[in-house]
Every structure is written in C-alpha cells, then in structure tokens.
C-alpha cells in the first residue's frame, strides 16, 4: 500500500467514501456527477471548485455577529451551504489542531478573526499559516502568551508553541524554549488587541533549532515550519483526519509524504496526494464521525438547512463546541467521541435530522455503521 494514486474500479461506494471523508457527504446529483467524472477530476474539483468560493465566504462573513452561539450557528450554516466543503473540513481540522478556545480567549471578535485566518490558509502554505498564527492575539491568549516582557521571557508560552503547534514532545531542547521565549518578547495582548512594543523586545541573537540570528516571531514560524519533526507531525495529524484513527501509521509510511511536504509546505497538495492514494480508498469505516461531521453530513446529503443556533448547542453537548475546543490539544476524536451518553445523543440527533426521510446512502441511520466514516 503506497501513496500512489488508486487504480481500482470507480464505483458508488468509493465515491460516497470520498465525499464522506472530504466533503461531509454528498447529495444524489453530486454523486452522479462524481461517478461520471471519475476520481481524479472529482478530487480536483473538491480541492478547487468551479464556483466563486471567495464571494460565498465574503457573504457569510458579513452575516457573522459577535456572540458566540451565533458565531457557532453561522459557521454550521456555512458548512452546510458552502460550494467548498473540503475547505471547511480542513478549517475545522486546523481549529482542533491549534486548540484555541473562547474559554481562554474571552473575546468573540478575536475568535471570529482566528477562524477566518485559519480558513484563509487552510489549504495554502503551512509556513504562511504558522506565520499568521504567531501574530494572532487569540493564540497568544489561549496559549498563555498575553504578556511577553523582556525582563521575564514567557517560557510557558514558548513551550506550548513547541509542544502543541510545531515539533512536538521530545523534539526540542531547553535552549529552544528559552530562545523562542526571547524571540516573542515585546509582543503583548492588551484589552483584546495585539500590541508590538519594540522597546520591550530582546533584539539579541537567539539559537532556535540550531540556527542563530536576531529572531522575531515570524522567523520562529519560518524555522519551525521547516523542521522535519513538524512536517511529520502535520502529516500524521492529516493522516488521522483523512485516513484512519485506529492505528498510527508507521514511520516508513509517513516518510515519503513528510519529505515532499517539507519541500514546499503546500497543505493543499498534501491533502490531494492523500485523497488520490490507494491507502485512502482502502480504509472505509476507520474513523468516527465527529458531531459536526455527523450533523452537517446529513444536512448536505439531504440538501436541507436546519436551525443552526440550537444545533450548535446540541453539538456542544455531544462534545464538539465550535470555537471552544477544551484544551490546546483540541478534540482527541476517534473513540473519544463515543461513550454511553453521547451514543444516545448522536443517534437521537441523526433520527431527528432525518425525520422520515430516507438516505439513499447505504447505512441505516440507527445502526452503528452510520457513526463511522
């Protein structure tokens, strides 16, 4: 099993599998079109739809207000109506990856801006994404980086950036922590606004990942993004998102992808490679649908819009509160979505959303199969 494009026959099951994983789900006409277009063209269209996505997103942006329940509701509506569902899937992935939650940030406008930043770079270049992250006040507040004075560099914040956002546990030295903290000095968040205080910035040389220079946060982002440990982590995370949650992939399996990703840091291309591959198409029912995927999937398949304000609260009860991942580790996903309480809530949600409509897609909504993608 490799990352080469899959060659097996293209049928309804495989097309439905692709849409479930990459677009929340598909309605009848989308599925028919996919069958006639073939896998390569369909995946390309999922990555770059013909419709004017920018205009759609601008319109949605204009509707968004500044209370958290309404922001939640608007995002769910956007996911249900968007011509570019893969973008929303990956935006949601990054939202969980960075784990920036309103419970730490406490400013709805910052949260709104944060998710829009994620959306802007979701399928773009990872170094651009990380560059935006290190200048995002929401990130500073969520990761304990509200204050970065020169006199006392904020090592806690630096550690979170290294541990959760870039290279990961055991992949950085104490020097990396202290010097990353020094790189961020002079940047604070006060009253919900990001402030750059040049006089408070330690302009001396810092050594991060073995490279020395007068690093600033943007330099840190550039250096961290290129680290093999970072690229491997991103690849593993996306593997979990698109391929399988059950077993972690072996290092050998990850290596070729990690190397090609490290070359250009193009997230879209990485996702495309995964979606085209043989491995992708031989892994059905290997991940649990998150509550958002469950609800949005049904709505897109049926082509209905439901009241999303109460839906947002319901999905929060099932463990996925949009704009509020519990910690910086995001939502663990996988089997964690299913416990003796949530399975009842999830099945009820599915039954209620379907009403008495029938899904042309295979699985019986009340069955366990329906909970998996």
């Amino acid at each position: 099993m490799t990352w080469t494009p899959h060659q097996q026959p293209w049928d309804r099951t495989r097309a439905a599998h692709l849409f479930r994983r990459a677009a929340f789900g598909a309605n009848q006409s989308e599925l028919e079109r996919a069958l006639s277009d073939g896998p390569a063209k369909t995946i390309d269209r999922l990555l770059k739809p013909a419709a004017d996505v920018a205009a759609f997103n601008r319109e949605q942006d204009a509707c968004e207000t500044l209370t958290l329940p309404e922001l939640r509701g608007w995002w769910l509506r956007r996911m249900m109506a968007t011509p570019h569902p893969l973008l929303e899937q990956v935006t949601l992935f990054w939202h969980g990856y960075f784990g920036v939650g309103f419970n730490r940030v406490n400013h709805a406008d910052l949260m709104r801006a944060h998710v829009r930043t994620l959306r802007a770079h979701a399928l773009g270049k990872f170094d651009a994404l990380l560059g935006a992250i290190v200048r995002d006040p929401a990130v500073f507040l969520a990761a304990g980086g509200a204050n970065n004075p020169k006199a006392l560099p904020n090592e806690y914040f630096a550690r979170q950036l290294l541990l959760h956002y870039t290279v990961g546990d055991g992949q950085f030295a104490p020097r990396d922590v202290t010097d990353t903290a020094r790189a961020f000095t002079g940047f604070h968040v006060r009253g919900g606004k990001w402030r750059d205080v040049p006089s408070d910035h330690d302009a001396g040389p810092k050594t991060i990942f073995g490279q020395t220079g007068p690093w600033t946060p943007l330099d840190f982002a550039r250096l961290a993004a290129k680290q093999p440990a970072t690229t491997r982590r991103i690849v593993r995370a996306l593997y979990r998102q698109f391929i399988s949650e059950e077993q972690g992939p072996s290092d050998d399996l990850i290596e070729p992808l990690a190397r090609s990703f490290a070359a250009d840091l193009d997230i879209g291309k990485l996702v495309a490679t995964m979606l085209h591959s043989q491995i992708f198409f031989s892994s059905p029912a290997q991940r649990v649908k998150s509550p958002v995927e469950l609800a949005v999937g049904i709505c897109r398949t049926l082509g209905v819009t439901v009241p999303t304000l109460p839906l947002g609260a319901e999905l929060a009860e099932l463990g996925q509160d949009l704009y509020q991942p519990p910690t910086l580790k995001g939502w663990p996903g996988g089997r964690a979505w299913i416990n003796h309480a949530t399975i009842i809530g999830r099945t009820r949600l599915v039954t209620r959303l379907l009403g008495n409509k029938k899904l042309f897609d295979a699985a019986d909504p009340a069955s366990p199969e329906f909970q998996l993608a």
Binding site: C63, T65, E70, G191, V304, T305, T308, L309
Partner: protein, 604 residues
C-alpha cells in the same frame, strides 16, 4: 228504561269523543316530527344554539356576527394573490372546478353560500376525547336541503368513480337522518334550517339527543354556563369550561413556577385572578366598523394576598393615561406598588439567581446602602409609565446602521426634594460604572454632562462621534444618549436626550386623572412598529435564518408578512384591570387606522 232518542245521542257523543281523541293524537304525532319546524330568529339578534350543545363541552365558540366574519374573510386584503392567506389557499384545479359547479347548482356565488349557511349564527364546541361539534342556523331550510343534496350526490358520484364504497354513509338516529361524506372523518345532519357537524359519531349523537330531548343535557340547562353568558362579545365569544381550565392550570411536574421578577411584576396579578376564578372564562370579540376588540372577563374580584401590589388600593385609583410624545411607537402605563412587590419577593419569586443578586448588589452600590425595598422601591408611587418612540438622528452626529428606538421610564416620586438628589446620584454612579467597565474592555466611553432645556437642567451621557470615520454608518451605541431628569415630582430615565425633552414638555401639562380600575394600559402604533421592523430588516432576517434554519427568501417573506400584519392591525390598545371590582381585559385594534382617542374601558 233509556229512550231510543238518548241512545242515539250517546252514540253520537261517543263518536265525537273518539273523534276528538283521534284528532288530538294525530295533531300531537305531527308535532313530534321536528323536521316540520323552522327555527326563527328575531331580526338582528343571534339565536342561542346552546340548547343543542351537550353539557360536557370543554370550550364553546359562539359566533353571532357571522356575516361580518364572512365579509372579513373574503376581503381582498386576505384573498388577493400576494395576500397573507395566499400561502394556504388550495390551488388545485379540481377544487376550482368543483366550486364553479357548486355555484352553478346553488344559483349563488361562494361567499353568499357561506353567508347564508351561517346567517343566524354558528356555535362550535370541543368536547372530551378530542371531539368537536358545530351547529349553524342557516337562512332557510330549503337552502340547506338543496346544499346537502348537491354535496351528497356529488360525493356519491366521486366515490363511485374511485370505487370508495365506504365513503358515503347515510343512517338515522332518533328520527334524524345523518350522513358522512368522508368515511367517518366527519358527520353531519340537517334539521329544518339548522345543520349539525361533528368529527365523531358519539358527538353527533349527543347533539341529536339534546335536540330530541328539547335541550335536556345541553348547555342551556347548565347553570354555570348560563351565568357566564353575560360576558359576551359581539361577533364571537369563546367560553372555556372550568374542567378545561383546571386541566390547563395544572402545575408542571418539576415544580417550576415563573421566576423572572419582571414577568412576575407584570403578570402575577392576572394569573392569580385567573386561578381564583372557577367558572367559565369568557373571551369575546367584536367588530364595529374598523375597530376589532377582544374582551376577557373573569368572574372574580381582584385577588388579595401576595399579588395585591398590582391592584389599585383605592376604588377610584388606577393607571394614568399614557404619555404622548412625537413619533410614539408604544406606551405602557402601569399601576404597580413596587414596595409591596419587593417586600413579598420570597413568596413571588423564591429563586435567588445570579442576575437577581447582581441587581441587588448594584442597587446597593448606586443607592449607597439604602434598603432596597423601603427606601428605593418605596420612594416612588405605583403610577409608572413607559414610552418607546422613534428617533430622529442629528445629522451633525450621524446615523447608526442599526436603528434602535428611544425608550424612557417615568416615575412619580413621593418625596421629590429628597429623592431627586438620591436618584441623580444613583444614575451618575451607574453610568460611571458603565463607563469604567467599557474602559476595561477597551470600548469607547461616554461623556457625562448637563444641559438646560425649557428652564430645566438635566444630566446625560453620550458618545462622542469625533473619531468616527463613517458618519452615515455609525455603531449601534450612537443610538443612546442616556439621561435622567426631574420635572417637579416626576422622575424620567431615558435612553436619549431627544425623548427626555419631549417628555419634559408632556409632563408639564396638567396632571391626568387616573383611569378607574385599570392597572395596565398598553398602546402600540402598528404603522410605526412596521417602520422600525422595516428599517432593521437585515439583522432581524439574519437572526431568523439562524434560529429557524430558513433560506433567505423564506426569511424575507416571513419578515414582510410580519410588517404587513403590524400595518393591518393598526393601532392596538390593551386595557387590563378590575373596573366594578371584577377582573377584565380588553384588546382593541383600530384596523388600518390612526390612534383612537383614549377612553375608559368598556364595561362588559
């Protein structure tokens, strides 16, 4: 020995007696056949049909002015293409064809048919087991008979075509023929010029029993229903039985009672009265020209106890007439004794929520530790008035994108000299705190200032537009220039200086006489309300899309309908109180029209 002549006389007498008896028997027999009778109504009066409604009825709707309702229902405003009702009209071709056929056979148009059908009144009642009956007295028996024949024949033909053999059934009960044209979904019977309709056979039979037994077992013989009949409307009256009221008033399982203090302040008096009233509850509707009024009358006196705060203590006291200001959207005048209300809070709303405690903490700060019940609530008298008016924006400042109306509350102080200073201090502290909190959140603050108007000096807090780049599209906060003013014994808390100044003028007029027995008077100008809804369509529509999951087109239609209804209902007045000691309420709509002059409540 009896002479032969007397024998002949005896025989003749016997024949005469027998003949008379026979004649009498025949005459009586004829009288027992009810379809020979015709029910007659006096001109202009509704015929009471309650001698045919079984006494187990749970709710009864008596419609007297059926002609007015028919006129209203067929008004072009309702039946037109783009009207409010057009979304529910059956548009199937089959229906149109059937209607034309019916009109041809009956020799009159569809609205006239309805008019004749319910000309002398119709009464609808709901009973146990979800049964419904309706009794209508039509213009004449011939018309009814003909209509019935046409419908039965047409349905029989249609049923035969579709091979639905059970659809039309004809049977007899107590000498009355009844039909079902829908295989048991509904039954109907015709007796002279009255028609009976029921959704269940036992219900139909119960009505026929009442009819055959000359009203025995009907509402006509039920004492408490007859006692409630004095509280009638003009066009229609709905009466709710004690049994149904008891069922509806059953407390919820988890013991949740209304805990929101504001809701308790406004409504507790009425809910208490409704609970105390044990008879039939009557709700009447009347239509006089352009005025549609709905009345409710409870057969109970204003309650004492915890809710006494909401009723005027003295017999000639009551809420004052509403204040009049330019561009008024709504006004509310209340009689509520705030001191007594807050003194009984342990009974009225025992929950100690975060919001209530926060409110008390803030009031403790603003009023420098004074006792909230005795020294603050007790410092104002029970006449409270609220006004909501449309704003006119000063072009020198700019216009906000979201246009909020201005609102104000007016109290009367018991001790103006003392409380004017206390309330001024409290207001300044409150807005100082708001300013401080806004500063903590890095939001723009207000400037507190005083200005003179018409010989009076008052305080206000407003936002400065100096740093705003886009003057025609300001932030929503520019809707507010909160102020406090003291006009003689009146205390005004207002959200804009413009409204304050309008109120200063209004309050300088001579003191109004209280409306006898009224404890709440609410007026809403539908046309202005429609304007505000129209000005703010975008945020409201977006909110609806989110809350109801609608597409934009559907949300816009709904919003437009809302505006149309507000315009149609025109000026609305809600009058609640206890004139003559009995709790009653009246809601009047001056359809399409301007404001009516304020009058005392119409007596039932």
């Amino acid at each position: 020995m009896i002479r032969s002549g007397s024998r002949i006389i005896v025989i003749l007498l016997a024949v005469a007696v027998v003949g008379l008896c026979l004649f009498g028997v025949i005459k009586l027999a004829k009288q027992r056949r009810p379809h020979a009778r015709t029910f007659v109504s006096a001109p202009g009066k509704t015929v009471p049909l309650d001698d045919w409604i079984p006494e187990q009825a749970l709710a009864v709707l008596e419609v007297g002015g059926a002609d007015k309702i028919v006129e209203l229902a067929f008004d072009p405003a309702f039946t037109g293409e783009k009207s409010f009702w057009s979304q529910w009209k059956p548009s199937a071709l089959g229906w149109t064809l059937f209607r034309r056929q019916l009109e041809k056979e009956m020799g009159c148009d569809y609205p006239t048919m309805w008019h004749r059908l319910v000309q002398d009144g119709v009464t609808v009642a709901s009973g146990p087991n979800q049964s419904f009956v309706a009794v209508a007295q039509a213009s004449d028996a011939e018309f009814l008979k003909k209509l019935n024949n046409v419908l039965v024949t047409a349905t029989r033909k249609d049923a035969a075509k579709k091979n639905a053999t059970n659809r039309v059934v004809e049977a007899t009960y107590r000498d009355v023929t009844y039909w079902t044209l829908s295989a048991g979904a509904a039954y109907h019977a015709i007796i002279s010029n009255r028609v009976v309709l029921a959704n269940q056979l036992p219900a139909l039979k119960a009505v026929l029993d009442c009819q055959a037994d000359a009203g025995a077992g009907s509402l006509a013989k039920r004492a408490d229903y007859q006692a409630a009949k004095h509280a009638a409307g003009g066009v229609a009256t709905l009466r709710v039985s004690p049994e149904l009221r008891q069922f509806l008033a059953k407390p919820k399982a988890d013991g949740a009672q209304e805990q929101n203090p504001l809701a308790v302040l406004l409504l507790a008096g009425y809910t208490e009265a409704l609970k105390a009233d044990t008879g039939w509850l009557a709700l009447g509707a009347d239509l006089q020209g352009q005025a549609l009024s709905l009345r409710v009358a409870a057969d109970c006196a204003k309650p004492k106890g915890a809710t006494a705060f909401s009723w005027p203590a003295k017999s000639d006291d009551g809420a004052w007439p509403n204040l009049d200001v330019p561009r008024k959207i709504a006004a509310l005048s209340l009689y509520r004794n705030l001191h007594d209300f807050y003194a009984t809070k342990d009974t009225l709303f025992p929950e100690r929520t975060s919001q209530l405690i926060f409110f008390e903490n803030m009031m403790g700060i603003f009023f420098t530790g004074r006792d909230l019940t005795e020294e603050v609530m007790g410092a104002v008298d029970p006449h409270i008035r609220v006004v909501v008016a449309e704003q006119q924006y000063d072009p020198a400042i700019g216009t906000p994108v979201v246009k909020m109306p201005a609102f104000a509350v007016v109290f009367r102080m018991k001790n103006p000299k003392r409380f004017a200073r206390i309330s001024e201090e409290a207001w300044q502290k409150a807005f100082g705190l708001v300013n401080f909190t806004r500063g903590q959140q890095a939001a723009a603050g207000m400037i507190l200032d005083r200005k003179d108007h018409a010989g009076l000096r008052y305080t206000f807090a407003s936002f400065s537009p100096d740093d705003e780049p886009d003057r025609p599209k300001l932030d929503v906060r520019f809707n507010y220039s909160a102020s406090v003013a003291h006009v003689g014994e009146y205390l005004i808390f207002s959200s804009t200086t413009q409204l304050t100044e309008d109120l200063i003028a209004a309050l300088r007029k001579p003191a109004p006489a209280p409306l006898d027995g009224v404890n709440a008077l609410l007026e809403i100008d539908g046309a202005r309300l429609a304007e505000i809804l129209d000005l703010n369509r975008e945020p409201i529509i977006r909110g609806n899309m989110l809350k109801k999951g609608q597409e934009r087109a559907a949300a816009e239609t709904e919003h437009n309908n809302l505006i149309a209804i507000a315009r149609f209902l025109g000026h609305a007045t809600l009058n609640l109180g206890a004139p003559d000691g009995k709790v009653a309420g009246e809601l009047t709509f001056n359809l399409h029209g301007p404001a009516r002059k304020q009058t005392a409540m119409l007596k039932p």
